[in-house]
């Protein structure tokens, strides 16, 4: 074949070609297809894959750095990693055996400790390892304290056998990526690799669900996937898995412990949880008993585990068996527990806690790989051959000081597999991550896995954190045909009723609405103020100056960036150079109330509800944020630049708003967003009116101020259509406050809010605490008439009745927000 002529592997073993450069039989069909298609076609397929992954939002680092530096797209090779079923079966037996062993070790170390008592493992390997958690001591005896889910990295050694590289036990990652890789490959396989049959992954997902079903005692709604949250680099996967497994995706703050049990805070109250699939590391799981500074865990979780009221996949403490210090003893452990020989070979490992071994390591350090036995705080790996004299000496000193913490491994050249990159096919080192689930007393291994490919063809270290690509693992052979489409639906798993909506998400949606409303209103108002400022000299100076001052003060009130324009000491400077202050209100992200601050808060809420939103809205938001951040970093922008930036960002915001509103059902939580948006709109409108229209002003000033208020609400045209007259205070007040038909009026919004509040889970036939204030505000507005509102006392400079009514309404709206939190977000009295 043509491309094979240029394929030359320096490795002692290549997956595709044997030592005589003859294609291994199980690769022949895949290669034939590639040969038939040609490299150009492969390039097209690669592009198709990239597009798929991009379109599905599969990124390794899902949290987009606003500067765009950390985006590391997930990459998938169009060439799979192929294994024949017979060989895989043998490997599977080895993985099953190892999972079984690690489970027995885990239970023993936190239970009877016979391995220590019978001198099969030196105690130093355990107590000197940071993954040992004294808090779960004695829990190994509980039935559900076991290694439910296990992953192992394996690679082919020079002898052609698959070797164990490392064990993943506390929160194995990558399964979601393996599934996504398979689904993506399916989309190109139909015409690139027609008729090649591979074993399916779906059976494993079914097994996973069965396990959850068993642990939850039949009620899978009592299971939750505990994620560190959207800032975690593999959040995509957490969200993805929770949707396949149809379980709640929660963060630590979503849960609480009481009555010795775990509860999920949801809008309709606390719901029991008895099974946690966790992606939070051991020590972060419980700030009370474990790391006190953890924000990712649930206070009291260890105690619930102690009381045997929660099953964890995997239990806290599992990191102890992610321990290469165990390797030298695995043979004896296997013999002790199972009276068997190890099936999968391990890399020769010397644990430095033993004198002879330590001496050997210190002697041969130049051609060994040195690692810490635990990788809980640092995953540093030392390649002896790459170290300078001084580095070697330093490393030796570290080993001598804490010998138990170090182990050395032989450097092995692992096999290479063909990889498509830069228009050609090259050999690259690969590592397979395989997955196993506990089923009764045995383990089930997934017929597939995640294959990671080294970044260059001379790197031994393969890590998804360090660039590189991935492959789908194909186990050749037919599976019984089952309809799996339903398994892999992409809809985020979320409760289809507001009752089950997790509180934290509800709260984030509520704030998403509030911050979005605030961002939009602030932006519009600032834009208006700047526009006024730049055209300022065209008009009669005294009048405009007065209205300008009022608008600027309003800006300070609206954003609550006090003292701002109200600062008397600085009055002169503020009047002469208002743009300095305005610029700070726009750009200063550390200034509470500033536009950038509000956008940052919005961004936070956006990230936290990301998995409910459509892909377009993520992309749009990321784009907006990147452009905004690069804008605010620039100093000395001209007024025109600022206005055009505001124009652009407003368009993004409005598009984002539309996407949010159309991509979510009310039952998924849109109601919360919408209530938040409305409450905030009214509060901001009141703030604007109180600092402008409540003042008795000269006619010409009044005109400008009215124009400003209407413009900043994007309501000027609507007003004109409605009133067909020039600007009058009475009309504008009627329009913005009392008009029952204009969707931005306070009356209209109050009425709409009453309806939406009624739909919340705790609303009853009679008014709840959070409905009452809005009802009161609504009645007040309905009962008052315009002329009363605009009464002006003799000699007064303020429309007092108007101001008082608005103040009352403002308080009522704030009280509604407070009552909402009390009723739905705090769970204080449940």
């Amino acid at each position: 074949m043509t491309f094979i002529d240029n394929y030359f592997s320096e490795s002692s073993f290549d997956e595709m070609l044997d030592e005589n450069k003859v294609i291994r039989q199980h690769w022949s069909e895949v290669l034939q297809r590639i040969e038939t298609a040609g490299l150009d076609e492969l390039a097209l397929k690669q592009a198709e894959i990239d597009w798929h992954l991009e379109d599905n939002g599969v990124t390794y680092n899902v949290y987009n750095n606003p500067d765009g530096e950390n985006d590391r797209p997930w990459r998938l090779d169009p060439i799979p990693f192929v294994l024949p079923y017979d060989e895989w079966n043998e490997i599977k037996r080895g993985i099953e055996q190892r999972a079984k062993l690690l489970n027995l070790i885990l239970k023993d170390l936190y239970g009877e400790r016979t391995l220590l008592k019978n001198k099969i493992i030196p105690v130093e390997v355990i107590f000197g390892h940071k993954g040992f958690i004294p808090e779960v001591y004695n829990l190994g005896k509980k039935e559900n304290f076991c290694l439910h889910f296990y992953a192992v990295d394996i690679a082919r050694g020079p002898d052609g056998k698959m070797w164990v590289i490392s064990d993943k036990t506390q929160a194995p990652s990558g399964l979601g990526y393996a599934i996504e890789n398979r689904l993506t490959m399916n989309s190109i396989s139909k015409n690139l690799y027609p008729s090649i049959e591979t074993k399916k992954l779906s059976l494993f997902i079914e097994e996973f669900k069965l396990l959850l079903k068993k642990l939850t005692k039949g009620d899978i709604s009592k299971a939750a996937l505990l994620t560190p949250g959207p800032h975690n680099e593999t959040y995509f996967e957490h969200s993805y898995l929770s949707s396949f497994l149809e379980i709640n995706l929660v963060q630590g703050d979503d849960l609480l412990c009481k009555n010795g049990e775990v509860w999920l805070k949801s809008l309709s109250g606390l719901k029991p949880i008895n099974t946690i699939l966790r992606r939070v590391d051991d020590k972060f799981c419980d700030p009370m008993e474990l790391r006190n500074d953890s924000k990712l865990g649930v206070a009291g979780l260890v105690d619930v585990l102690r009381k045997d009221n929660v099953a964890m996949i995997n239990p806290i403490g599992s990191a102890i068996v992610e321990n290469i210090g165990l390797n030298p003893f695995m043979k004896n452990i296997c013999n002790y527990f199972l009276q068997e020989e190890l099936i999968l070979p391990q890399i020769a490992t010397w644990w430095c806690g033993q004198e002879k071994e330590r001496a050997f390591v210190l002697e041969n350090i130049h051609h060994l790989i040195i690692k810490k036995i635990d990788r809980t705080d640092c995953a540093q790996i030392y390649l002896g051959k790459n170290l300078s004299y001084q580095e070697i000496e330093n490393l030796k000193a570290l080993i001598i000081k804490n010998p138990y913490q170090y182990a050395a491994q032989e450097e092995i050249g692992f096999s290479t597999a063909p990889h498509y990159a830069n228009g050609k096919i090259e050999p690259r080192n690969t590592v397979i991550r395989a997955y196993a689930l506990k089923k009764e007393d045995a383990y089930t291994v997934m017929n597939g896995g995640l294959v990671r490919v080294s970044a260059t063809n001379d790197t031994l270290l393969v890590s998804s954190g360090k660039g590189g690509s991935s492959k789908d693992l194909w186990i050749l052979g037919e599976d019984e045909k089952i309809d799996t489409a339903y398994l892999f639906k992409r809809a985020p798993f979320s409760a289809l009723s507001l009752n089950q909506l997790p509180t934290l998400r509800a709260e984030n949606l509520f704030w998403l609405g509030r911050y979005l409303s605030r961002s939009i209103a602030t932006m519009r108002f600032i834009r208006y103020v700047i526009k006024k400022l730049t055209t300022f000299y065209r008009f009669d100076e005294t009048v405009s100056r007065e209205s300008q001052r009022i608008l600027q003060n309003t800006l300070t009130h609206l954003t609550m960036t006090y003292p701002g324009f109200l600062e008397e000491e600085n009055a002169e400077k503020l009047e002469q150079y208002p743009m300095d202050e305005i610029s700070s209100i726009i750009k200063d992200v550390d200034r509470q109330g500033s536009l950038s601050f509000t956008i940052a808060m919005l961004s936070n809420a956006n990230i936290n509800v990301k998995n409910l939103l459509a892909m377009e809205s993520w992309k749009l938001f990321d784009k907006m944020q990147k452009e905004w951040n690069s804008f605010i970093r620039k100093s000395n922008s001209s007024s025109q630049t600022i206005v055009s930036e505001l124009n652009k960002t407003l368009i993004y915001m409005m598009a984002y708003k539309e996407l949010v509103e159309e991509s979510m059902f009310k039952e998924q939580g849109l109601s919360l967003y919408s209530i938040g948006y409305k409450l905030e709109s009214v509060l901001l409108l009141i703030s604007k009116i109180r600092s402008t229209l409540c003042l008795k002003l000269d006619r010409s000033v009044t005109y400008e101020v009215l124009e400003g208020i209407l413009n900043s609400c994007e309501s000027f045209n609507a007003y004109r259509t409605q009133y067909k007259s020039s600007l009058h205070l009475e009309n504008v007040i009627e329009f913005l406050i009392l008009n029952p038909l204009f969707p931005k009026s306070i009356t209209y919004i109050s009425e709409a809010l009453l309806q939406e509040l009624k739909e919340l889970p705790k609303s009853k036939q009679y008014l709840s605490a959070y409905e009452k204030p809005i009802f009161e505000a609504y009645s007040l507005l309905k009962l008052i008439d315009l002329s009363t509102l605009l009464e002006l006392k003799e000699g007064s400079l303020v429309y007092e009745t108007l101001d008082n009514v608005l103040l009352t309404i403002q308080k009522l709206f704030l009280s509604c927000a407070d009552e909402m939190s009390r009723t739905y977000f705090s769970h204080d009295d449940e």
């Binding site: 001198k119 030196p122 105690v123 004294p134 010795g260 000081k401 804490n402 204080d828």
Partner: protein, 296 residues
Amino acid sequence: MIYEIYHQTTFDYQSMVTFSHNIARLKPRNTLFQKLLDFSMEIQPKVYEQSEFIDMFGNVNTHMLIREAHHSLVVVGQSRVELFPEAMEEYLWHMRTSCITYGDALAILSRFECDHLQAKQFLFDSELIQKSSENIKAYTLASFHPHRNLFEAAQEFMGRIFADFKFVSGFSDVTTPIEEIFEARKGVCQDFAQFAIAALRTIGLPAKYMSGYIETVPQEGKEKLFGVDASHAWFSLYIPQIGWISFDPTNNVIPCRHHILLGEGRDYNDISPLKGVVLSSGASQLSIMVDVRRVD
């Protein structure tokens, strides 16, 4: 000898707390040399739920959930403890006469044996105590020669800490690095205990943190005021094949008649009297009042 101990721990919070999980360790444990006769615990505000468990180090932990809105949490432990100084003296005499050398101890500990299983967990770095520098190692080894009786060496080491370090409160807290304590040669009982433990672990000996109380005697002719005592800390060293023995470097004594043990662990964190997690913004402050009185 019977002692009555009053130990009050208070958390004051800057803002209102409506939900807090806490663990209190205020119930003294039973040993060969002391017996808990009576114990009661009072908690303000009212607890929502409360349960007890024994941790890996044998300490009694009380887990409390509080769901009433509160600005401060007060936990008072009151205990009556009987000491058996004669038993202790007999044990000490046995220790003194049968003690092995430092060199032997290291040799025994390096063997692959399970006798030391419990002891060896006190040989490794813990959250607050890490293996220390060469300077501290050298300072320590001045007392520990391979051929020297381990008991004697440890007693001398305790005496040197007592002589070389000044008791100064306010300089440090439990998180102050041991190197800093050594550098300044000052601190309080917790620092001396943690320093000694770090030093002993560094030279290969298991050592644990002991938390408890010590009776203080007022000046001649003056009456003892209520609540003027403090909680106390010292360390315990493991002598292979023989057992644990406690040393109080703050007072340069081997605890016997005046020390009441509350609990033990790898460092302060394993036996802190009260720890909690609150759902609230703002800081919290911990304060303590202790009274120790011999009643019989």
